[in-house]
Symmetry: C2
Subunit: 357 residues, 2 copies
């Protein structure tokens, strides 16, 4: 079989956009927001072109077997603005984001790649500081950056630095984490306070002051997941609620599992400073990105022990049970409000805060 | 051990640039050219920050062992302009570039990740065509795109589409390909005609006509490498001469091996249309990028059989012996000219053609 081929001159006019519901002749910011529009782009454009299973394509990482080893493989690009923010930098995000995607498969990240797109004219000191931040984050997460690539684009075609990381790690025997494993009765646990990353980015970007400095929660979750799996390898689902926040993470799990989720709104840990900032900005903390949190669907019989193990870990000290998985209202997340009412927690459509990771 | 940390406000003023020889307070296009400046950036900024071995950091892919499997792992970002060109597109490059980096370790690519950075306002039809090109190239290369990520940046902070791919593949038993394995007497073979990719990009970018349309040689080299390894697993070095062309590939191998290379300039296959275009543009074909070629350092006793196997493969039909590895002038590539003289083939400093991949 010859491995060469000629690409016909692309016929853009003849390409009919398969995106449902909305007419998008052009890309808008919302396609990168991690919500419904992002998912539509993956399901209708990328997955069919790649011949991928759309449900698999929407997961944080792929699971595969190679040479007898059961591996998780994941990638993320990072375009956060600004490059440095309270609690971290694009370099920290690039390491922790991929480490966490692997951790959500139960894998401890072993190796990372690093692709760098530099904008002509960016100060070399900025590049150096970002590289140092990546190196420091990698040492904390105990992952090695082993291969990389650098490209430069002309001024006006980038924004200082964009990063991509891909990562691989081993999935331990007996661990099988995916949304389809959720069952009614599973206890939903969040590892700590939500909304810190998105609010931290927003505060520095807009020069807002909320009385106290709000720091990103950016952190590597491999150790926390290891502690949870030490209680039982039979956790059902893990997800890190990044773009789209807790609402997107829970909504996607509910949709993929064909089950419902009932939350106790009061139980969701929202720090007062995040609540205040969200009130001022008109945001809902449920939709704000986190970079060092996870949400877990845990079999009821293990929930207490898993919660205890999480609270014994520095990154899970504020872990809390926030709800449960139910057979009713499949695909839907419902929150019981403090006043005894209920509200539907919709999937976000686009994004509240562009370029937060 | 707590896995959180606080990043001090970055002290850019206190950061002294470790780049040698040149004073670069800011990134210039040449840092992305795949030549000496690119290597300096990796050796002096990224490798120290990541705690990586600088020599290893400069290789096309990393070799690692995970769960008992011996894997190659590689990444590349793609910022080519224009997105579509004669013979391919950014999508073809993104698949074949990483497939080829893995092939240079002797690994057949098994799985790819795909990171997409879209610029707000790019036509969805362009995104669709690029995705289709990636899918088609992946099917030809027999590699599965299994995980991905999409980000969107504001108009004026990108250039339509940037791609990143990372890939993993198994390295067959007995295969150990790296520059340090070159020995004096090794025969240097190139798999075909050089300079096509760079000239094809240049011609469409500048609207130049050279009488005939020059198509990129963009192709996946996994099958060709498999055919070569079927002759003997004991090949010494493979390299795909992309950015910086054959000159950069040979120069880097010579430097890493601490050996010299002597080329017969007449033996290097340069198509007449590439020679003509380079003469007009003031370029040297030895420095022009290729995206479907490889250069091999082959033990003398296997050279004839390996050359025959290459010529029997569609992607190696024009393979040619172009020189040999010598103990003299370590780190230096010398070309014997058609007129009987010799010239030193220097490593390129920056780039002749920015953003060709």
């Amino acid at each position: 079989m010859a491995e060469t081929r000629t690409l016909a001159a692309p016929d853009f006019a003849g390409w009919s956009c398969p995106l449902p519901l909305r007419d998008h002749p052009r890309v808008v910011m919302g396609h990168g927001g991690g919500g419904v529009m992002s998912a539509e782009l993956v399901e209708n454009v990328f997955a069919p072109a790649f011949g991928s299973d759309p449900l698999a394509a929407l997961r944080d990482s792929a699971e595969l077997t190679l040479g007898g080893a059961r591996l998780a493989f994941s990638t993320d690009s990072f375009v956060v603005r600004p490059l440095f923010f309270p609690g971290g930098s694009i370099g920290d995000l690039a390491v922790n984001g991929t480490v966490n995607d692997l951790a959500m498969s139960g894998a401890r990240a072993a190796y990372l790649s690093c692709g760098v797109i530099l904008e002509e004219g960016v100060e070399m000191a900025v590049v150096g500081r970002v590289a140092e931040a990546m190196g420091a984050a990698a040492r904390v997460a105990q992952v090695a950056v082993v291969t990389g690539d650098t490209k430069v684009v002309e001024a006006g075609h980038g924004d200082g630095i964009y990063l991509n990381t891909a990562g691989i790690g081993l999935i331990p025997a007996g661990v099988d984490l995916r949304p389809q494993r959720a069952v009614p009765g599973d206890v939903v646990i969040v590892s700590g306070e939500i909304g810190l990353h998105g609010v931290a980015i927003m505060s520095v970007r807009e020069g807002l002051e909320f009385g106290v400095e709000i720091s990103s929660d950016c952190a590597a979750l491999g150790g926390l997941v290891e502690a949870m799996l030490a209680v039982t390898p039979d956790l059902h689902v893990l997800r890190d609620p990044t773009r789209g926040g807790l609402a997107a993470a829970l909504g996607e799990i509910a949709a993929a599992a064909g089950l419902g989720v009932v939350l106790s709104e009061r139980a969701v840990p929202v720090p007062p400073e995040v609540a205040n900032a969200c009130a001022i900005l008109g945001l809902d903390p449920m939709y704000v990105a986190n970079e060092g949190k996870l949400v877990a669907f845990v079999p009821r019989e293990h929930a207490e022990a898993v919660l205890a193990a999480m609270r014994a870990h520095p990154l899970g000290a504020r872990a809390a049970v926030i709800g449960e998985c139910v057979a009713e209202h499949p695909g839907m997340v419902v929150a019981r409000t403090a006043l005894g009412g209920t509200r539907v927690v919709d999937l976000p459509l686009g994004e509240q805060l562009p370029r937060i990771c």
